[in-house]
Symmetry: D2
Subunit: 136 residues, 4 copies
């Protein structure tokens, strides 16, 4: 399994009148988590779109809100790819508070779409190549 860790700091604009991070803002954090995970693998999501001409639309999302997150907190984003991807790829992001407690968990499933034909395609070989060593 591949695992990667990065951080975000909660912005004021991401909180709501309850004083919590708005429930709809966690997907932004998962996005940061998976883009940085890919970058750590030597893959740029931007280049995938611009050079490989492949989009990765989200197919499904599952979120568990365990503990609220607050303004100005620094959160650890622990992103893993739980299984070897095929025509879909999954990213699990655990959001961990400063005291080590789990705040939130998001599981995002994405597929691959050719930018020109707008049709679903298999995962680019380039991604398989960098990932396979983690799944032996």
């Amino acid at each position: 399994m591949f695992k990667h860790r990065t951080q975000v700091r909660v912005r004021y604009g991401e909180t709501d009148r309850m004083g919590y991070v708005y429930y709809g803002n966690y997907p932004l954090y998962y996005e940061v988590g998976r883009v940085e995970a890919l970058r750590a693998l030597g893959l740029s999501y931007r280049k995938m779109e611009d050079e490989l001409m492949v989009f990765m639309p989200v197919m499904s999302l599952q979120v568990k809100y365990v503990r609220p997150c607050f303004y100005d907190e620094v959160l650890d984003l622990e992103t893993s790819i739980p299984q070897i991807p095929g025509d879909i790829i999954q990213f699990n992001t655990d959001i961990i508070k400063g005291d080590g407690k789990l705040a939130n968990r998001g599981l995002v499933t994405l597929c691959f779409v050719d930018k020109n034909t707008n049709k679903r395609v298999q995962i680019p070989q380039q991604i398989i190549d960098v990932l396979k060593e983690y799944f032996i």
Copy 2:
């Protein structure tokens, strides 16, 4: 089962560079759907917070992205409460495109928290009272 229908129009700022509604913006639409569903029942979520002193934090969220939504589309939000709520309440929102096709489905599970004690509480009687007639 209680069911309610309202609409949103996709804002430019809700799209992303793919030209789709960003996957993290759907929870905003579910929020509109459930707040208007409650209003149709004679319940104001704002008053619940300000007068009943009860928050409703989200506990979990499940999203299925079936078809992309685009800028300026008018979307139907069909929100239902699939089962009689107890210490949690669930809202399912189907997002329907102009041609009647399902674009997106979100299931949101919320609980009830006392604003003063910050502890979980049972569902306010007032909500049970208005909902029970739909679940006979």
Copy 3:
């Protein structure tokens, strides 16, 4: 001068921990105001992009925050085009609270860019045609 009025209701996700509409969310409301103003003139901003192949990037923005706006408030967006547009177009949006008091004022200046060449162009004749009767 051309003037148009529409409404938005403040979403929970648009508030911040201060309980106010986050200062960065007003531009979303101005967008709603000007897109609906254009629609009232028979102009679809989406069609401008998709058929006239013209983008309207924002060049400058000036905001005055007069009174805070709160969750669930219904706000009037009073959008006007203060002067006959040339190579730029300006939209002024006054955001009015239920009691008639001014909450916020935003002045947005946009230009016109050809989608193919990515160069600035003059205002499309179609817009001039519908606007000129308001500026005699």
Copy 4:
């Protein structure tokens, strides 16, 4: 004059269908710029709210959009406090692209409000104390 520099990387969710950072997302970046500027001065905006019981609502905002910003770009936020604050404080944030060119400039004017009375107050002495050495 006090000057501080930090960075943000553009998130996918911050772009729009034009492929640019949405014009309404820049205030989020100014927020990051000024909060990190305050932190560099030894001031925590969160503590100001929670301990000094002072809010800083935004009174006005002026933005100049000079060059578009794109997905995944790393942007320098160069935030300065152009003049010694009194009952208001101003932050200017220049957003600089990787090639050193100015992308965007935002001038944000804030005031100070007592959380308990909800009335405007003078700038907290603590902020004056740390800032005054930069304005001799």
